[in-house]
Symmetry: C2
DNA sequence: GGATGTGAAAGTGTTCACAGCC
DNA sequence: GGCTGTGAACACTTTCACATCC
């Protein structure tokens, strides 16, 4: 395998391809071409082949890709053959919804704890998960070997919570707060900013009128 | 104003700048340089200046930018001087949380309706909003002049719901379902895929071990 | 024949570095 | 002197087009 710098956009598409392959696999289709994948997920066929080429040669010339095999390769590339444990900090509307969201389990992520600092919330149940005081976080992270933390607290508390997560050895953070966070180089950070997404729509809607 | 093609990454950053300016403004700071903005949001100062230069000359050489003015320009560029009305389809965990999420109102977005097709959910209240049958959507969209639709239904129903939204004249769609949607050219679509984001973290976490 | 894998070309976005202005 | 605004250089990503192989 060559060690090139892989574009982040490629990783995003690989995740999309993998889900598309799961869908195709369920239909019982055995073979698929880059062109068919491309049409299914809305990119070019060359793009599909280039993305896959970063990681190896998975297809057969003149034929295409074996659906089951390709799915397996994609899951392995994405690191989804092991189950990742994650914790959520912030048990407001968003944090609670994320804790109960079924989509994570489907792809092998397991929520092992949700934390808050509001005494009125501590002890409440979300499905099978009890909201715990943030002071319990170190114990839960260690016991479950959680590696991913989700931040669903208000902007003002986001950096503080981030520091706690990092101190407890978490190496990946998904930030839902509308605040730019600083993290050390060895921690992966992704921002899912709901307002930013609406504002992008606003920009293009408004632009249509100009 | 020049009409260049503006990178989408620029729009995302403008949204981030605008929120940072709101924060700075609250502190009572009057003037700020591109370098200070850059440090605050984690980009380069040249990037800040280039992004702004697409839309005009807002600063004063040797001095910097007036915080209040720049904030106003950014809000105008982003189309946030008018209030956008939006509807949410899907009143599951995620849709319900979004309906009650305070962050939207803060930036001038108003949820005017939430819809589902599950009879058990119809009539239930989320804060002041009653969950309605999807058949009521056309009426609500028209009465409120809603322009934005949020999709929070399972993957299988996502394209169908999208078609309904488009038929009712919505021009912008925020898709939370893990499905690639097709929309006409005049409809703006953004995807917020929670699992994709976790899978990107998974990829980089796994890569650390290699 | 047909679809992959891949260098080369085109296109897009970011950084550099400095002229211009306060 | 200091900071903006911007053309030019650079870096990165996508598309093209075709040799390669089943």
């Amino acid at each position: 395998m060559k060690t090139l710098k892989i574009p982040e956009a490629t990783i995003i598409r690989l995740s999309v391809y993998s889900r598309y392959m799961a869908q195709i696999k369920r239909k019982g289709i055995v073979t698929i071409s880059s062109g068919e994948i491309a049409r299914g997920v809305g990119v070019s066929s060359a793009q599909v082949r280039k993305d896959l080429a970063y990681f190896g040669e998975f297809g057969t010339r003149g034929v295409g890709y074996n659906v089951g095999e390709l799915y397996g390769y994609l899951m392995k590339i994405l690191g989804l053959t092991t189950q990742w444990k994650l914790v959520i900090v912030g048990a407001g509307k968003l944090g609670s919804a994320l804790a109960m969201y079924g989509g994570f389990a489907e792809r092998g992520f397991k929520v092992v704890g949700i934390f808050d600092n509001d005494p009125r919330k501590i002890g409440q149940k979300l499905d099978n998960l009890e909201i715990m005081d943030i002071s319990q976080l170190p114990k839960i992270v260690e016991a479950n070997e959680a590696k991913i933390g989700i931040i669903a607290v208000p902007a003002e508390e986001a950096q503080e919570v981030t520091n706690i997560l990092i101190k407890n050895g978490l190496k990946a953070i998904l930030n839902f707060s509308p605040r730019v966070l600083s993290v050390p180089d060895d921690v992966v950070l992704r921002n899912v900013d709901l307002s930013v997404n609406l504002e992008i729509l606003s920009f293009y809607l408004d632009a249509q009128k100009r």
